[in-house]
Amino acid sequence: MTARYPQWSYAAALASLPLLTHRRLRWLMQAGEPSDVWRQIHEGDRFLNGVDEAVWRAWASTSDSLLISVAERCIDREIDVLTMNNSSYPASLVGDPEAPAVVFVRGNTEAFRHRRVGIIGTRAATSRGKHFAHTIGAQLAASGVAVVSGLARGIDVESHAGALSVMGETAGPPIAVVASGLDVVYPREHARIWEDVAMRGVLLSESPPGVHPEPFRFPMRNRIIAALSEVLVVVESRSTGGSMSTVREAMKRDVAVMAVPGSPGLRQSEGSNDLLRDGCAPVTSVDDVLLALNLDHRHAHQWCDTREVLLTDEAALLHVMGRGPRSMEEIAMLTTKSVVTTAVLLGRLQAKGWVANTDGWWEALVA
């Protein structure tokens, strides 16, 4: 029997069924052609074992209008639907026991063929952590490595902003794995970077278009980030943070987890420091990551710091600031300069992008 609609739209419709888990979706997709499965569900044929009555009823209560609305959204928003037997489906997900049977993507799926490094971390990151994520994102992109991340606030978005800051044909494309539907931008202030990623890399989600970022979707998203990454770098994470769930998923899959050391006592670094204590490899520069990927790091550096060079007094101040946030009074005391002079120097450094100020606490942005 020939299907009325293209097969991908049946796959998308199956992925949009209510009460779905990734396991049930995989069973459905393995049961036959998506169009046949769709027809069987609606004809009341309960062909799978281990699926509840209630679930069958909920599935059967859907109609072709669900299929049409999902398909229309996909066409409108230029969203592609990939199933596991599609050649564009990410190869690293194929062998994964918990892989999503259907994924929605926007952008260039060639990105999945690059070397891939996941960069994750807390949303409430320090300026210094964000700066590190930005820098390493840019350096990896300059080395042709794709940066995988979740487009959340903080570390996630900074790593992609860094990757996108590198121009050129050979730059590694960003891969963003998000929890909501690809047409539901979350958080809203990331709308622009969301578009940039779709333009120069690829956006991926297992949620069909229109789905809101419900909390349970984030751990699910994390397992895809872990599965897509060859190496996972944790920049800053609290010990209970969501990043730690990505780390657990990565460890299940034997993905190398690396962590960026942080100041002891800094809440934002508790989790990443715990990882180091437990034996994860440290990342202090991009070279560590490139070595873990077995890439030649000697020629890789096409990225250079574009910030304006420092004058002697500015460099001295930056040196004195050290690690960790400090108040202006503290810095003035350390430099034995007046607060006014310090404020002027810090202002100059901030304009050049060497220091950041959050709520009156100053941090040096040096990797």
Binding site: R123, A124, T126, R153, G154, R188, E189, G265, L266, R267, G324, P325, S327, M328, E329, E330, A332, M333, S338, V339, V340, A343, V344, L346, G347, R348, Q350, A351, N357, T358, D359, G360, W361
Partner: protein, 502 residues
Amino acid sequence: MFAAVTSSTLLATMGSPIVVEAHVGQGIPAFTVVGLPDEGCRESRDRVRAAMLSSDLEWPTKRVTINLAGGGERRGGAGLDLAIAVGLLVATGVLSQQAVEGKAFVAELGLDGSLRPTAGMAPLVSAVGDHEVVVAATAVAEASLARAPRVRPVHTLKQLVEVLKAEEAWPHVDVPEPQVVMDEIADMADVRGQEMARLAMEVAAAGFHHVLLMGPPGAGKSMLARRLPGLLPRLTDEQAFRVAMTRSAAGMPMSAVIASSAPYRAPHHTVSMIGMVGGGSSHLRPGELTLASDGVLFLDEMGEFAPTVLDALRQPLEEGVVRLSRANGSVTMPAKCLLVAATNPCPCGVSSPMACTCTPIAKQRYLRRFSGPLLDRFDLRVELQRPSTSELTSTSKGESSAAIAERVQRVHELCLARQGCVNSSLSADALEEVAPLHDEALNVLRTHLDGGRLTGRGYHRIRRVARTLADLHHSDGPIGSEWVHLALAMRAKLHTGHGEMR
């Protein structure tokens, strides 16, 4: 049968003269007050009657009409009691009209016939200052603030009648000469550390820039704000007089003392809209904004104030006056105050970023309590940290208020001579003229504008603050980059969410 007696009534912070007409004629015995009297004035009848009977004066069993002649506003106040009583006595022939010519009567009557002070004695007496003003002897100190040349304090109604009948001389009560004094204001020297905040207070005083202090509890926000009036120049005679009038109109207890230091008001955060901007149903009362005029209005824990109350500050802060319009009239009250607000940087209020437990969203939500336009009013937004142990225990004192006030005074004089206003009121056009930027300074501002760290609104505010900083440091000519950097350091960026920044 007919009499006209002068008195005065209170309109917000100002007194206005009024003629109380009394007519006693044939008819059914009655007592009516016409001419838009307020509730308090209608009660006068009973007080006046009791006072007259207690003073062995006859209450006319005739038809009595009292008219409060004057404009269209609702008038009243207990201060008209005495004028009504005297009007009745003239109308019934107990006193002659000549006896009350050139005199004004401002006092409330007690049931025992004694004269009592009423709220706003100073502006009430001031409004009829060219008359011989009869006031209660107990109100003489407050009445003296009006600087009326002929104040006649009297103890009782009976005594007044005897004086007006020329049977007795005016009782001897000393009318004190108002003393001009400085308030006791805590000294800046007590503030340990906080160099930036101290400088910000100096700039605030010198350029009349509104300040927002952000810092954890215990950083010294209130301490700094309390000391700000001590940095402001002494009030001019005219200002001090206005402040005294306003305080008296608000019913604050007054003595024969005129404060020449800038007023300081720190209303609690439960303050109502009317408490803040003024108003009220019986008579319009000045609010905290007006009481703080020519001085400092300090809002501690700004986030706890009702958002409507905070937003009501915006227009008065811009114009320097509060305009209140009610169904029965409108008034304008001065509101030229220096606003100092204090807030915690985030809901948890912990001092260090290592220990703060707030999510970025919670922080943004906290800051979103303040409307953007209000945040824009603050030229200076300073972040404070708790002073370190060594600063707290240090025995060396900071610079004294007097030394700072001297510099502030000089800048005020300089600004008045140069542009006729304080730096914070400079218009964008005037800025080009009196505060041109050095090339380097312009470049700094450009990078900040391009980098999205400065908004168009912030640009002009930074330039005004930079002008004040340069003035304080005797720097003439185009404004150098160091002042711009410093001004930027004193304007903390606030992330209010959705990538928006103020």
